[in-house]
Symmetry: C2
Subunit: 260 residues, 2 copies
């Protein structure tokens, strides 16, 4: 029987997680280990300074749902080590309430969990819907979720490669199809709203605006803006291979020559 | 006057940060915005659910030291937006107490801050020493730190590229030089020690072992094992460009054909 591990960063009770469980349970047994609270923006962080607690929520013939008080990455580590009955065939994360396209993947707890699983070379997929609404309508993306899961279970993924899948917030009939993309170059323009507490002490609220000036072909932002599902093959290596040749003569040295 | 922003993930009082301040102050004015507590393993996480507090610690003619109760990424965002007197010429992070080579960069708050700065195309460098000792001896790496900072201030870095610099834990005279590298492929083999609290309830402590079977040439692990400083050019895009061609025929589709 196929074994699927599911996590997310919106917590074990999020609507997007429950939608994903329903699809995944068509393929096999599902174990959920998700954060016990909203853990958006936790990226690839893990917990080392304190131990983790685990809570059991509900189960049926196919599905067992646990939460823990750690990060999405903690959930993957702990589930694989102690709660999955065997090596999972697939690790899923989401469906996230909100985009994880482009540079958002850096901050994403949803994708942190997926990339963590990819370092162990599990087949792993992160799903995200471009709506932050806690009551968002996931029905439009579910047929695509099912199709992508079936494809990965049948054919696997390249070594250490995971998928970052984002859905436009559209009904199924208005989604135009799927595109395999690369991340658009973008950044967040942050601002902080300074306020003063009742005791006269300042504090700062982060706000921000997503800025994407990358209008090239083949980006996830372009696919999503055009009404397509974006699928970005993702890997856990930050090396800028293109820069190695240019930087080598600037930085490489041997101490024997340098220290004389 | 050159403006340098410094952060880290070991907190504003860490020995490695103080060592980095001393070197950076030779080049210009230094503003420090660092976490108010140990924030190791916080990766690229940021704080959205609560506001940030800022604390002023000490200053002299060249240096002003602040902390905040957020993540290293928060420190970069908040400092750039509200505390730096002008756009910094350079963003530094560290010197970290512990390695951020290979896959460790994924989890690293030190490098989270650096990669954040690189998304805004600041020149940014993360420095890490392969010793977790709070009283580690940074003297061996300081001449290299100074040389690398001078090089980047003089020549800049490619667009959106930052440097991940790791130092072997050796005296200066035993460091063999510097190598420009790519990340070694590696992963953590996690285990959790299950304990039971005085009330009979279980909890789990994360422990782990770094596993690197990548013995190819040109990796940061190889350079460090050979006694060299490793310099990995790093960029914020997770896309696996090599996989796009292979995955396109498997996943791309247009709904017009598919839904008929």
């Amino acid at each position: 029987m196929t074994q699927i591990l599911i996590t997310n960063d919106d917590s074990y009770s999020a609507k997007g997680l429950l939608a994903l469980i329903d699809v995944a349970a068509k393929f096999g047994n599902v174990l959920v280990m998700a954060p016990d609270r909203n853990s958006s923006g936790l990226s690839h962080s893990f917990t080392s300074g304190r131990p983790l607690r685990v809570y059991e929520h509900w189960s049926n013939e196919r599905v067992s749902v646990f939460s823990c008080d750690g990060t999405p990455v903690d959930c993957v580590k702990l589930a694989i080590e102690h709660f999955c009955p065997m090596r999972p065939d697939l690790v899923l994360s989401g469906i996230n309430h909100g985009s994880n396209s482009s540079v958002n993947v850096l901050y994403s707890g949803t994708m942190g969990a997926v990339i963590e699983a990819s370092t162990y070379d599990y087949n792993a997929i992160g799903f995200s819907l471009l709506s932050h609404d806690p009551d968002a309508d996931f029905s439009g993306c579910l047929p695509y979720v099912e199709q992508i899961i079936a494809n990965v279970l049948d054919n696997g993924l390249p070594t250490n490669v995971s998928l970052n899948v984002n859905f436009p917030n559209l009904p199924f009939g208005e989604i135009k199809g799927m595109r395999v993309c690369h991340e658009a170059k973008a950044r967040w323009a942050d601002s902080f709203e300074k306020r003063v507490d009742p005791y006269g002490r300042p504090y700062w609220w982060l706000t921000g605006r997503f800025i994407c000036n990358d209008h090239s072909e083949g980006t996830d932002e372009k696919a999503l803006a055009d009404g397509y599902v974006s699928i970005v093959p993702t890997q856990p290596d930050y090396t800028c291979y293109n820069a190695i040749e240019a930087l080598t003569p600037r930085f490489e040295q041997d101490s024997d020559t340098e220290k004389q």
